[in-house]
């Protein structure tokens, strides 16, 4: 039953991914003129032979459809061609170098967002219109109204430059060396048992992580609060109390367990928000991930690199939605095992 469900959803993804790849492919051709010239215009001295090679590589003299087919075929094996803003190194290599950094930042932000927002949402819902609730609601509103680049800068100024509590760029303190196993510094530090490195990695993640987490946390607070308020008025919550259960068990086990189910979908959507903010935040904090890579690639018109990164983001987003659906199914037994009647 599981396999069928997941298989079905994966099948539905195919046209979506096809559409995405088509749009990504077109980015290279949107401006009038020779794309190669655009790209190379930024890269400095290139020989005519290299220009011709590239032309052949991208089959620019063949019809669009053929070019697309070529693009797709190569993309499926991860081949995006050379990145000239990186001296002709394969795009795949350049991206792979920076991907773990973004992965670490994203996971950290996601965890931070959930860890902050779920308790706040729950506490706000327990006493609606109370002081905490009002503060939480106001905070959530602020969270979705703040531009990420502004929040990042303000945090940098406040905690980095004025108070000197936290670093404002990079991933590790200078001089610290970490044997890279996964590329995720905090994980590697854990594996190596290096406390100082772990601390350093986390300190560097905190400001960008907070900035990235803010909009998602704000939305989740609202969602959890609203879902919990609905659940808390349900009969089974009252019955749980009538059984003599302590209030904490009533709220955390009975109410929250049910409230989280509709919240999961929203969380997945908001995780998409997280991804969107990633680029801006990496630029603000000069964080060496694929977001910053993409922005740099844009200013150098390095289309193949841009294409690869956009595809990665789109793929992640799509998988995230799939994950949300699966999670929804797991959490709600009513969907998993539809009523058999009697």
């Amino acid at each position: 039953m599981w396999m069928r469900f997941i298989g079905q959803r994966l099948l539905q993804l195919i046209p979506v991914l096809a559409g995405v790849s088509m749009i990504v492919f077109l980015t290279m051709h949107l401006t009038p003129g020779d794309p190669i010239e655009h790209m190379l215009g930024q890269a400095g001295r290139i020989t005519q032979r290299q220009i011709d090679e590239l032309r052949a590589h991208y089959a620019l003299d063949r019809p669009m459809l053929v070019q697309y087919g070529l693009f797709l075929k190569r993309a499926l094996v991860g081949d995006f061609g050379p990145s000239y803003s990186h001296l002709g190194r394969p795009v795949r290599e350049v991206v792979a170098e920076r991907l773990p950094a973004t992965l670490e930042l994203t996971l950290f932000s996601f965890a931070l967002a959930l860890a902050l927002s779920v308790p706040v949402g729950v506490l706000a819902s327990v006493r609606p219109q109370g002081l905490f609730d009002r503060l939480a609601t106001a905070g959530a509103l602020l969270g979705i109204s703040m531009p990420g680049f502004w929040l990042g800068l303000v945090l940098m100024i406040l905690f980095g430059l004025r108070l000197h509590w936290l670093p404002i760029s990079g991933r590790l303190d200078l001089g610290l060396v970490l044997p890279s196993a996964t590329g995720l510094n905090s994980l590697d530090a854990l594996i190596a048992g290096d406390g100082a490195a772990l601390w350093s990695a986390l300190r560097h993640l905190l400001l960008p992580g907070l900035t990235m987490a803010a909009p998602m946390a704000a939305m989740v607070v609202r969602m959890v609060r609203s879902s919990m308020i609905g659940v808390l008025s349900q009969d089974y919550v009252q019955f749980a109390r009538a059984k003599g259960l302590p209030e904490r068990a009533v709220i955390c086990k009975h109410a929250l367990g049910n409230a989280l189910i509709p919240a999961v979908n929203v969380v997945a959507l908001q995780a998409g928000l997280l991804l969107s903010g990633n680029m801006v935040i990496e630029v603000v904090f000069q964080y060496p991930g694929i977001g910053k890579l993409a922005v740099d690639a844009i200013s150098s018109a390095d289309y193949p690199l841009v294409q690869a990164i956009v595809l990665i983001y789109a793929l992640s987003y799509v998988l995230l939605n799939l994950g949300a659906d699966v999670l929804h199914m797991v959490l709600d037994p009513r969907i998993r095992r539809p009523q058999e009647g009697r």
């Binding site: 109390r241 009538a242 003599g244 259960l245 049910n258 959490l331």
Partner: protein
């Protein structure tokens, strides 16, 4: 003469709404002895459920219990600290609600929900708890009990769900069971089965039951005493057989006229005119006066008190405070 298990004295619960203060429970007094079944009867909206919730202090916000006493085994529950109340709920007073589908947690297995009760009150845990759950379900008449423990509420039929809820309510061997409309959501055959189950539990465990219902048929078959409630107040009380044969209060009489009687096809079924009053600003006199066929001057200006009238009977009606009126009226039909 068994001792008094529950004695409610002048309980008053208030609800603050945007329209003003409502009093769904307005000076309710009740008494239940050990092993006795007392039925609390009345129309929807008369405050029966709120009374039940008030007894265990589960009144939802914006409601609050404002005065009165709830003496359970001699101790006033309204004065107890929260932690002690939690120990009493489920352990000494069990509750069964109306709609088992919405009252059981839809995302937890049924067995888990039973075991939870046992665990929280320290009766049993782990495998012992599971064993007890199986025994409980079997005692409720549920076949293949062990497999049933793994089901979710929506996978069971209505009757089975109600049995599960009763199982949870009696799992810790309480002294008192408060059943709020336990059969309203079920069809007639299931109703009979559930009432039989409750009767059996009462006989086997000496359980006292506060049965809240609007079904007079159930009341007549099952309860020892009846209390009739109207607009937040008790208007009549007494042993079931006597009360149903000789209803005193006009409201009770009206209720009985609404029910068709087997073997008496000639008896007209008469609805009671009017509807339940708005308790935000209740009229000064008797609450039932607007709908009462016997109402006279005093009824509109003065609220009658709940007074004894006959053995074990109480009535809240001016008709019974004036002996000469009784003589004049003759038969009440």
């Amino acid at each position: 003469m068994s001792q008094l298990l529950l004695q409610v004295l002048n309980l008053q619960t208030r609800l603050l709404t945007h329209r003003g203060a409502l009093c769904p429970v307005d000076g309710v007094s009740l008494a239940i002895r050990r092993g006795e079944t007392v039925a609390l009867v009345g129309e929807s909206g008369c405050g029966k459920s709120m009374t039940a919730l008030s007894l265990v202090r589960l009144v939802p916000r914006p409601g609050r219990i404002v005065s009165g006493q709830v003496l359970f085994d001699g101790e006033d529950l309204l004065l107890k600290p929260d932690a002690e109340m939690r120990r009493i709920r489920g352990r000494r007073i069990g509750m069964v609600f109306q709609d088992p589908l919405s009252t059981l947690n839809p995302t937890l297995r049924v067995g888990h929900q039973i075991e939870e009760s046992l665990r929280v009150h320290g009766v049993a845990r782990g495998p012992a708890a599971r064993q007890r759950s199986v025994e409980l379900l079997e005692a409720m008449g549920i076949p293949s009990a062990r497999e049933r423990l793994q089901s979710y509420p929506h996978e069971l039929s209505g009757g089975m769900r109600q049995r599960v809820m009763i199982a949870i309510a009696v799992s810790c061997e309480p002294d008192l069971l408060i059943a709020d409309e336990p059969t309203t959501a079920l069809d007639v055959t299931l109703q009979a089965q559930i009432m039989d189950l409750l009767a059996r539990l009462k006989a086997e465990r000496g359980l006292a039951i506060l049965l809240i219902t609007h079904d007079l048929g159930v009341v007549s078959q099952f309860s020892d005493c009846v209390a009739v409630m109207y607009a937040g107040q008790i208007v009549e009380q007494g042993p079931t057989a006597d009360l149903l044969q000789n209803p005193r209060h006009p409201y009770t009489q009206g209720l009985l006229r609404c029910v068709p009687r087997l073997g008496r096809p000639d008896l007209e079924i008469l609805p009671i005119e009017g509807s339940v009053p708005d308790t935000v600003s209740p009229p000064p006199g008797c609450r039932f006066a607007p709908r009462c066929p016997e109402a006279w001057n005093r009824c509109w200006t003065e609220m009658p008190a709940l007074r004894p009238h006959g053995e074990g009977r109480t009535v809240r009606c001016h008709l019974y405070a004036e002996p000469q009126l009784l003589a004049g009226e003759g038969g009440m039909e």
